[in-house]
């Protein structure tokens, strides 16, 4: 606990110091980045210790104990998230250090470092607070800090619009949380999390109501479809280190909070909770990946892919809930554990992919997939990490995400083999969703990685710069190594996650039936790595027996880089098949006449949830509240009359 307070102190102190020394960019960067790194290490240490020892820490050290304020609490669940936040926070901070190293805007960079540290502190406080008020303050701190980080390039209108969308969406979510805590706290007479369990078991508050409020509130942060609208706006607008941190860990605090809610439940939840999460997760996963593959902006593509992966996590949690309510221990642990493992994997992969996208933007100056290509030659380290990370995030072996998708599918498979249709039907839905998502993810990420890094640069006007700064190129390599390690070490990591699940559910759980499968998977993944290495070793013998020439061009004399398939043409078979869902807008101007001039083609994919749900909703609000304009007269006398009337009404109620 002491180390947690130390880490929070370092974050806040270092952030303030970075802001104070804004006149001296080197000192400011040193203070800001140094404190972010030191704070992350301290937090990771605390998390690791609790996770391994399994001892919950709840008492404050020294004189703080006398305050008798049950504010902070690190159990295994909190420790797991602490570790995730600290890990990605550490590497994203290194990357952010290099990313702004040559930025001459002193005040802005110093302010960025300040907000960055506050965001880290806010996230750590969210997962460790044991009290509703503190939780909400931390939640707001996290939201506001990330809002200012998104607005870093605030001059661009698109950036401003993204910032607003984010601020509004997330506060709509928070309002649901406020309602939830008011209801729970009102019934408990206390805002301490410990007292909420009693309220739920007394039946003073319906758990169902709490669940629905939490699902909307936390689901907005987590980015479940259709609450995801802020993600594809905020991520492309934010600087890449921020996108990495937001997508890598911040959205996961929504999942943390759902687990925290489950840990308060006195008994297994009703069956429909799991069904709702599977439906929500299924829609998120499918819609996420379909929108992702249609995008032309690399970071927007990655943002939608986060929606997809949060959906897969929700599928795992949903299956876990179904198992819990039916008393099927194996389904429960495979579902919950798979969800948590997927969260861990996604955190590493998405962090690295956003970092890679940032390096692409640095090197080539654009994120438009249709213009890029062949960047592997300029960014070999980032490229290697990005290409491998793309395979990893598609859930392919030999990377960790396969293990987590396997566990989620395994939970569903056990459900499918049950005689009762109650479990079998949701399980079938889950399995079909995951296989469809998996196939589409391959399309999406071969596009993202292959068309950006391989081949030749499509737009002749781009002149990419080679990567030099190791602060930019090494963090993604470490993250992809971590993802590969998570696959090989799945049989060791999973029991730890099993303990976290057991702590949430409140009871020992056996994972002995899952471990043999995980051991096989780890062994086969190791075999894949080994055989890959061997095939390359064999080649070494005959290196002289090679010749280089041009790509087969069908005998055409002047092949051109612009003749390559583009991202849009690569996914065209899928997008044209799915057009009824995507509703892309196309504008085509064909070359016409005997002496044709330039033609034009433009296509853009909107977002169905934004266009068909939020826009009508908000324009309805605007219409309804616009009517209130009628009472705004602009004459002082009328306003005085209003005040008098209000006082009169209050007087009547008081009497």
């Amino acid at each position: 606990m002491t180390w947690l307070l130390v880490s929070l102190g370092i974050f806040v102190g270092g952030g303030l110091a970075a802001l104070m020394f804004w006149r001296h960019p080197r000192i400011s960067a040193g203070l800001g980045v140094g404190s972010a790194l030191a704070g992350s290490l301290a937090a990771a240490g605390t998390g690791l210790r609790v996770l391994i020892s399994g001892v919950t820490q709840s008492s404050l050290p020294g004189f703080l104990r006398k305050l008798d304020f049950p504010a902070l609490y690190i159990d295994q669940l909190a420790a797991l998230f602490l570790l995730v936040i600290a890990l990605l926070g550490f590497f994203a901070s290194i990357y952010g250090w290099g990313y702004f190293a040559h930025d001459r805007r002193r005040v802005r960079t110093a302010f960025f470092r300040f907000c960055w540290n506050l965001l880290l502190a806010g996230m750590i406080l969210v997962v460790t607070s044991a009290q509703a008020i503190l939780f909400l303050i931390a939640w707001e701190l996290m939201t506001l800090a990330s809002f200012f980080l998104v607005l870093h390039e605030g001059e661009a209108p698109a950036s401003r619009r993204a910032g607003w969308t984010y601020l509004i969406a997330t506060h709509i979510g928070t309002s649901f949380l406020l309602a939830m805590f008011v209801i729970l706290g009102g019934a408990a007479g206390s805002l301490d999390f410990r007292h909420f369990t009693a309220v739920l078991s007394r039946g003073a508050v319906s758990p169902n109501l709490v669940f629905v409020l939490a699902l909307v509130g936390f689901g907005t942060k987590a980015g479940f479809f259709p609450l995801h609208v802020w993600l594809p706006e905020a991520h492309p607008a934010a600087p890449s280190p921020v996108s990495a941190l937001m997508s890598g860990v911040m959205i996961k605090t929504g999942i943390y909070a759902l687990f925290r809610l489950f840990s308060m439940l006195p008994q297994p939840p009703p069956f429909w909770w799991g069904t709702v999460l599977i439906a929500l997760g299924g829609v998120s996963a499918l819609a996420g990946v379909i929108y992702a593959l249609a995008q032309q902006n690399l970071k927007r593509l990655l943002a939608y892919s986060s929606v997809e992966n949060m959906g897969i996590i929700a599928l795992g949690i949903g299956m876990g809930l179904l198992g819990w309510s039916r008393g099927e221990a194996l389904i429960m642990i495979a579902g919950f554990g798979g969800g948590l493992l997927h969260l861990l994997n996604h955190s590493l992969c998405k962090g690295l992919l956003f970092i890679g996208a940032g390096s692409v933007q640095h090197a080539a100056g654009t994120l438009s997939i249709d213009r890029l290509g062949g960047l592997y030659r300029f960014l070999p380290r980032t490229g290697l990490a990005f290409l491998a990370g793309s395979a990893a995030i598609s859930g392919l072996p030999p990377f960790g995400m396969f293990a987590s998708e396997f566990l989620i599918c395994f939970a569903a498979l056990k459900g499918l083999l049950q005689p009762s249709l109650g479990l079998a039907v949701p399980a079938l839905v889950l399995l079909v969703t995951i296989t469809l998502t998996g196939g589409l993810a391959v399309v999406c990420f071969t596009k993202a990685a292959g068309l950006v890094f391989l081949g030749e640069t499509r737009d002749p006007e781009l002149s990419p710069v080679k990567e030099k700064d190791r602060r930019l190129s090494v963090p993604p390599l470490i993250l992809i190594a971590g993802s590969a390690m998570l696959g090989l070490a799945a049989p060791l990591v999973f029991p730890v996650l099993g303990k976290v699940v057991a702590a949430v559910i409140g009871g020992p759980l056996s994972d002995s039936l899952l471990l043999p499968s995980l051991r096989w998977i780890a062994a086969l993944m190791a075999l894949i790595w080994l055989m890959m290495g061997l095939t390359f070793l064999i080649r070494r013998g005959g290196k002289k027996r090679e010749k280089s020439t041009v790509t087969w061009d069908c005998g055409y004399i002047r092949p051109d880089a612009r003749m390559q398939y583009t991202g849009s043409s690569f996914v065209q078979p899928v997008t044209s098949t799915l057009d009824p869902l995507l509703r892309a807008t196309h504008r085509v101007k064909l070359p016409q006449g005997f002496f044709p001039q330039a033609g034009e083609f433009f296509s853009q994919t909107g977002d169905a949830a934004r266009e068909n749900f939020y826009q009508p909703l908000f324009s309805m609000f605007a219409r309804v509240f616009g009517k209130l304009n009628a009472i705004q007269e602009g004459r002082v006398q009328v306003y005085v009359l209003y005040i008098a009337l209000a006082l009169l009404v209050l007087l009547i109620f008081a009497v």
Partner: protein
């Protein structure tokens, strides 16, 4: 038993290149030609491994990873399929998931290798392959799920060795799975009527155009990998039939015989059918997935 399984595995690797030979010979007989020797692929592989490789200047390391991972996936995949009722070398609950993802992995890196050439033909082939596999995968997967429910088992060996009572009771489902899998088998192995391994026009190719730039040993790896794939995906298909209860070696011989029949069948289909229009392929694949889904739903009707 482990020894026998390992021997089956090695024999499988050695025999795999015969399957394309059988298909080609069947096609030759149908069109009144004498045709290549049955063992042509062995000669080809020998020749290719001794040739000098040509690489495009555009390509990077990923161009070389593609064919290698393709072979690695097929070699590991072969360890998953059961040659007899005694099971396979690799067998654990949920193993079919890893088998499917292995092939997805090999496809992912084949697509990357294709995009690495920067050729618009390769890009076109990659795009088609990615799309068609997206639709073919659910049909495979749903077939496995139907079998899992029929046999109450979550291992591949258990699904493919249904007890004869369960097999007879579930015959309609097994038949539906068989229809779906034949379609998928032809698509995944790039055969007529979905794709033509012998076409010479780049624009009409699907799988072939992705690997056009590979040469020498790497081209050999690709050919060996696709021969193995014919075998790995063929065994689940032939094992939909119940296998007679004879000795493990007898069952191995039975499976080999069934694979030969399957190869002849593929040759016959290639001889009598014309290629489908490109736009029809997704429709056929969606139909296959729907048929497999129907099989799963039928297993829900309690028995």
């Amino acid at each position: 038993m482990t020894v026998a399984k390992s021997v089956f595995y090695l024999l499988g690797i050695i025999l795999a290149p015969v399957i394309p030979g059988i298909i080609n010979r069947t096609k030759a007989v149908f069109s009144g030609r004498k045709g290549q020797p049955l063992l042509q692929l062995y000669f080809d592989l020998w020749k290719l491994f001794h040739k000098k490789a040509v690489y495009s200047r555009t390509t990077s390391i990923f161009f070389r990873i593609g064919p290698r991972l393709g072979l690695v996936a097929a070699l590991i995949g072969l360890a998953f399929v059961p040659w007899s009722r005694q099971g396979a070398i690799v067998s654990f609950p949920g193993d079919f998931l890893l088998l499917m993802y292995l092939f997805a992995m090999s496809r992912f890196f084949t697509i990357l290798a294709a995009l690495d050439t920067g050729s618009s033909f390769a890009g076109m082939g990659a795009s088609r392959e990615a799309f068609f596999s997206c639709l073919a995968e659910p049909a495979w997967f749903l077939g496995f799920l139907a079998l899992a429910r029929l046999g109450g088992s979550s291992t591949l060996a258990g699904m493919l060795s249904l007890p004869s009572a369960a097999w007879r009771r579930g015959l309609p489902e097994v038949l539906l799975v068989g229809i779906a899998w034949v379609i998928v088998y032809l698509v995944e192995n790039a055969r007529i009527p979905f794709d033509d391994p012998n076409t010479h026009l780049e624009l009409t190719m699907i799988h072939e155009v992705m690997v056009l730039d590979h040469s020498a040993a790497e081209w050999g790896l690709i050919q060996a990998g696709s021969a193995l794939k014919l075998m790995v995906l063929g065994i689940p298909l032939v094992r939909l039939l119940t296998i007679p209860a004879i000795s493990p070696w007898g069952q191995f011989a039975w499976t080999i015989a069934a694979l030969v029949v399957l190869a002849v069948l593929v040759g016959v289909i290639e001889s009598v059918a014309a290629r489908l229009r490109l736009l029809r392929i997704p429709q056929m694949l969606i139909a296959a997935a729907a048929i497999a889904l129907l099989a799963v739903i039928l297993t829900f009707g309690g028995k």
